[in-house]
Amino acid sequence: MFKVLRVVIGRDLLLSMRRRADVANALLFFILVASLFPLGVGPEPNLLRTIAPGVIWVAALLASMLALGRMFAADYADGALEQMLLASAPLGLIVIGKAVAHWLVSGLPLMLLAPVLALQFDLPIDALLVLVASLALGTPSLTLIGSIGAALTLGVRGSGVLTSLLVLPLYVPVLILGTSAVDAAAGGVTVQAHLLLLTAFLIFAGAFAPWAAAAALRISLD
């Protein structure tokens, strides 16, 4: 059972390794988006510092949302997903494996890179730490929730808009909690409450999302 989990994670990491360009490019995308905002908004340092947490979090959200496309689509197109539905372990477990691998290559590097970008916006150090912590708790939730949407959009039946609408309300709390944690840190206020809520959200998502995504996959492939 856990052998299958290991195989799935290993396989997906190997696939990402083989298309390293993909992973590197996702990071570059994150950098580019975060750098575009100053371009659009103008160079004033105070303004930039105020919007920094929001910009970085939105960039992270977008980057991780775009990366969702990679999660099932390729496996769907070449029939590998069918084989996973016929695997010898429960589908939910396989989804967990895929989500873990996906986060390792899309969420983790993003989280490690965020402080560097934040420096560009001249954020103070403790806000930086909180930013990383909030991303560490938030991005896995995004991946997990996103997996449901990604699974639903595979089939003809799942309307794209409907799923985005379904996923978005669940993304927004993460975004708000994340940014307000960083804002609080920048303002010198305690951030424990925010981070605790993020953790609760993550646990909740971890417990339910894989099974929802598994059900969505079954529907999409019928």
Binding site: K3, V4, V7, V8, R11, L14, L15, R18, R19, A74, A77, D78, G79, A80, E82, Q83, M84, L85, L86, A87, S88, A89, P90, L221, D222
Partner: protein
């Protein structure tokens, strides 16, 4: 034993087949024939449990496959239209992963032998992306050689895109599997299995 009870499949608004019943004992070979669009692929996907029938049930050793789930999967190899071969992985890696997923992990020796069996010796370490249409199909079919112990094989047009050597090889593997007491269900537009093996045939549509 694979058993199908009063199966009905609807696609769009038409019923493709209705009241389909058969039993396949160990060692049986079933060819599903029929014109294009007669519902062969649909039937095979129902047999695997990938699609739900409009009515009726599929049973494996007397139990409904919907109750068995993973237990049924462990005894099943399905090779569909899409070969499920990842472009980025080599033939070797593809095969190892698909065996492990199916619940019959194969070590390096088994994988190597299976690939050799389907005539891919020189290509085992090439990313599948560099393979031709027929070679990719061979990678998918190598799983048959690696998972000999799996009881039930369901193959959707296994002979497409293969050259004559490869067709012969697949025929051989199927024959051996039947001798071992395995069950094979396949679709094909040509009568390729030769006269030496008696196959049940279902003709769909009409």
């Amino acid at each position: 034993m694979l058993e199908v009870v009063d199966l009905r499949c609807e696609r769009g608004e038409r019923a493709l087949f209705d009241g389909l019943e058969f039993k396949l004992p160990a060692g049986a070979l079933l060819r599903v024939a029929g014109a294009n669009g007669s519902g062969k692929t649909s039937l095979l996907r129902i047999l695997c449990g990938l699609a739900l029938p409009a009515r009726g049930d599929v049973r494996w050793q007397g139990e409904s496959i919907r109750a068995l789930r993973e237990e049924y999967h462990r005894q099943l190899v399905y090779i569909g239209h899409a070969p499920a071969v990842k472009d980025e992985l080599t033939g070797r890696e593809n095969l190892a992963v698909s065996c492990a997923l199916g619940g019959t992990p194969a070590d390096a020796a088994v994988v190597g032998a299976a690939l050799e069996r389907v005539g891919l010796d020189g290509y085992a370490d090439l990313p599948a992306r560099h393979l031709s249409q027929g070679q990719r199909r061979r990678v998918a079919l190598a799983r048959l050689a690696a998972c000999e112990a799996t009881a039930l094989w369901i193959l959707d047009e296994p002979f497409t895109a293969l050259d004559t050597t490869a067709i012969g090889c697949v025929q051989e593997m199927i024959a051996e599997h039947l001798e071992r007491g395995g069950i094979v269900v396949f679709t094909s537009h040509q009568e390729v299995m030769g006269a030496s093996i008696t196959a049940y045939t279902i003709e769909l549509g009409g």
